[in-house]
């Protein structure tokens, strides 16, 4: 990130933000305000006791989500938007892109950063969906994973009409079009993406006598007690598979068993299995090398930890997508899809990318960040705008086909974490 020294003289905004605000990444800390978990659990529990009714299905004469249905929707002027913390441009407590959106369309956005964890948020809305009730949200952002698969399988999302999303068709990166977890973008369009690879501190280089290059370095006994892994078993299992050279998206239960054995071998070296706090562990040097999300390392670099490095190991990285979607029986679907389309305008995508620092789904945003927003640090970072080499290294997650599948995966990998 130091190669931008040449155009000094103007302090770039991202850097300023980095030194003036200690940026908490999304998913951080709030996850620990754990009492909320209890409340959510209780709600889900009570609902589960009474939840026996099958999925709601459409009640109108026209099937939900067809072009006919969409043409009958009217704009309500309200949008209830559930997102993750620190996941939208923010300035003095306001969200400029949302304000512009309201100015242009007249739609008031009720923006709430209430999602701290996919499973936890899903546990909160599932009881409503099971009973055929409105969740209260018109638009929400969830990662591709078992929760998304379950939402799709149960008809708990309103199918999108791509003719209402011309900006998506025109501007979206090939990486987010027609993904394996949602063929044809029938239900979702990507909000932001990111890579799961490795992060490391100078101590790891010292201990190894060289810079780490591969996933095998996470298994190196010289780093004993300072290896951090992720407690999300999808992330953990996938990296175990990659280490063995198995493609996660096409892996079989037999492969999973092998990967689990490999991870079990690694366990004596592992300091801990972490959620979002893995980045704090790395910053505090409790871990020297760790499984890591690309954006977090970039954020850490900008906020007082320039020595941390992100590594695309030679075995590859995993790519994930956080997706916008409209839950079933949402009260303001047209407002929601209008926003989805808005977010795919290159200028809007650029403003979002320049704040969020994960991977934007709109490649055209790069030039705008560089020239119009004048933020070369962000524009030139391969962690925010990945180059093609990085794209080619990216592997897709296994898409769960059903509960049996998921249970088998959980039972294979979770014992490693819950030891």
């Amino acid at each position: 990130m130091n190669d931008d020294r040449s155009d000094e003289g103007r302090i770039d905004s991202a850097f300023l933000r980095g030194v003036t605000q200690r940026r908490l990444s999304r998913r951080e800390v709030l996850r620990y305000a754990g009492t909320g978990v209890g409340a959510a659990g209780l709600a889900a529990f009570l609902a589960a006791c009474g939840a026996k009714s099958p999925s709601p299905g459409g009640t109108t004469s026209v099937a939900v989500g067809t072009p006919d249905w969409w043409s009958k929707q009217t704009q309500a002027g309200i949008l209830n938007f559930a997102n993750w913390p620190y996941y939208i441009d923010t300035s003095k407590g306001e969200h400029p892109t949302l304000e512009t959106f309201t100015k242009n369309t007249g739609i008031e956005v009720n923006y709430r950063p209430v999602i701290n964890d996919n499973a936890e948020f899903f546990a909160k809305i599932k009881p409503f969906l099971q009973q055929g009730k409105d969740t209260g949200w018109d638009l929400m952002v969830l990662t591709n994973g078992p929760q998304l698969s379950e939402l799709i399988a149960n008809n708990w999302l309103i199918p999108l009409d791509l003719s209402l999303l011309p900006n998506f068709t025109a501007n979206a990166s090939p990486l987010v079009k027609d993904p394996a977890y949602d063929p044809g973008n029938k239900y979702t369009v990507t909000w932001q993406s990111g890579f799961t690879g490795m992060g490391y501190a100078p101590e790891a280089v010292q201990a190894l006598g060289r810079a780490p290059t591969s996933l095998a370095d996470l298994w190196d006994p010289r780093l004993k007690g300072h290896v951090g892994m992720m407690s999300d078993n999808t992330e953990l299992g996938s990296i175990g598979l990659l280490k063995l050279g198995i493609e996660p998206s096409t892996s079989t239960p037999d492969d999973w068993t092998k990967a689990a054995a490999e991870l079990e071998k690694q366990k004596p070296l592992v300091r801990g299995y972490y959620g979002q706090p893995y980045i704090n562990q790395l910053q505090d040097r409790n871990t020297w090398i760790s499984q890591a999300w690309s954006g977090d390392i970039f954020i850490a670099n900008q906020s007082g930890y320039p020595e941390l490095k992100f590594l695309v190991p030679k075995e590859g990285v995993m790519i994930w997508h956080d997706n916008m979607m409209i839950p079933a029986l949402a009260q303001h679907p047209l407002d929601a899809i209008t926003y989805m389309n808005y977010a795919y305008q290159p200028l809007v995508a650029a403003k979002l990318a320049d704040y969020i620092w994960y991977v934007t789904p709109v490649p055209a945003a790069k030039d705008i960040v560089l020239n119009q927003l004048q933020d070369p640090t962000v524009a030139k970072s391969p962690l925010v705008f990945p180059d093609t080499a990085m794209d080619q290294q990216a592997h897709q997650y296994y898409t769960f086909k059903g509960q049996e599948d998921l249970t088998e995966w959980n039972n294979t990998f979770e014992p490693i974490i819950q030891s």
């Binding site: 800390v29 620990y32 305000a33 754990g34 978990v37 959510a40 659990g41 889900a44 529990f45 009570l46 589960a48 006791c49 939840a51 026996k52 009714s53 099958p54 999925s55 964890d117 499973a119 936890e120 546990a123 599932k126 099971q130 078992p146 698969s149 379950e150 799709i152 399988a153 149960n154 007690g225 300072h226 366990k267 592992v270 300091r271 801990g272 299995y273 706090p277 704090n280 505090d284 040097r285 409790n286 769960f400 086909k401 059903g402 509960q403 998921l406 249970t407 959980n410 979770e414 974490i417 819950q418 030891s419």
Partner: protein, 305 residues
């Protein structure tokens, strides 16, 4: 109070206001009983019901909820999968209780006997750190004790600990964290029971030529047993179910039963499994406490707690 307690006394039954007097104790305990019913017995029943349910056969991710099937096998399965974490939690909680007792007793003793006019101040100081949320306090410990933090770095510099030493992510860190958080819950009941001891009893023991050791072992300690019992309950029970310390201060091999229940509930969405685990834990604790109460004799405790 006395007349209510003796409501079943034959003399009262012939009195004029006998009905009111007979109902009074029940009326007085009704709010408590109702509380227990709504917030303990009914949820516990619901939990038992849910533990005995199985998911309706599904294809793919289509969710059809659960059906009640008397699936008692769930308990065996839960125990088989997670007995390590269950016993580990009991083990941790036992160590924590002993540690808090060893650390807390002298403190409570000193405040009760030598606190003088400042007793309340000392108690307040003791509780002061606990005005901060305990999650924040645990995170602060994580910061203070990190490998590159001020404590470990300096200890390494002075060669008190070997380089590469770490305290976070170990069993010690988890137990120490819970002990720290549980300490006031041990000290306060101990203080109350020690404070209540009639000083003339201590005087009498001394007059009868008991030395300091005997005064303590034969008079003060037995009289403070109710405090120990109450402190045990307030410390041991929450400690078994704690999951925040294991999450924040723990590493590999420190997972407690609370973490497992949280995982089964929120991540795995296996409600019957989570319910079965929670039920096993709760019933296990209840039985344990009942036996413990019998052994220590709870008669006096009612006066203290």
């Amino acid at each position: 109070m006395e007349q209510y307690v003796r409501a079943d006394h034959p003399v009262l039954e012939t009195g004029k206001t006998r009905l009111g007097k007979r109902l009074a104790p029940y009326a007085l305990t009704a709010p408590g009983a109702l509380w227990l019913l709504i917030f303990f017995l009914i949820p516990m029943g619901a939990m038992l019901v849910l533990a005995l349910e199985t998911p309706v056969q599904t294809t793919g991710f289509v969710s059809r909820g659960y059906q009640f099937t008397w699936h008692f096998g769930q308990f065996g399965e839960a125990f088989r999968l997670y007995h390590t974490q269950l016993f580990r939690s009991l083990n941790y909680a036992t160590i924590v209780t002993i540690l808090t007792l060893v650390v807390g007793y002298p403190v409570a003793y000193w405040i009760a006997f030598y606190g003088g006019r400042r007793k309340t101040t000392y108690l307040f100081l003791l509780l002061l750190p606990f005005f901060v949320s305990f999650v924040i306090r645990s995170l602060a410990w994580q910061f203070i004790l990190s490998d590159d933090g001020i404590v470990i770095r300096n200890l390494e510099r002075w060669h008190i600990v070997p380089s590469g030493f770490h305290i976070l992510s170990t069993t010690t860190a988890v137990i120490a964290g819970i002990t720290y958080n549980a300490l006031p819950f041990m000290i306060l009941p101990l203080y109350v029971s020690l404070e209540k001891i009639d000083r003339s009893v201590v005087e009498a023991a001394k007059d009868l030529y008991a030395n300091k050791r005997d005064v303590f072992l034969k008079v003060i300690l037995p009289l403070s047993v109710p405090g120990i019992f109450a402190g045990f309950l307030l410390t041991f029970v929450p400690a078994v179910g704690d999951y925040v310390n294991a999450e924040i201060l723990g590493g590999t091999g420190t997972t407690m039963i609370g973490n497992v229940i949280q995982f089964e509930f929120l991540t795995n969405n296996d409600y019957p499994m989570a319910s079965a685990l929670a039920f096993i834990l709760m019933v296990g604790l209840l039985i344990g406490i009942l036996i413990y109460g019998r052994v220590l004799g709870t008669r006096q405790i009612e006066e203290y707690v």
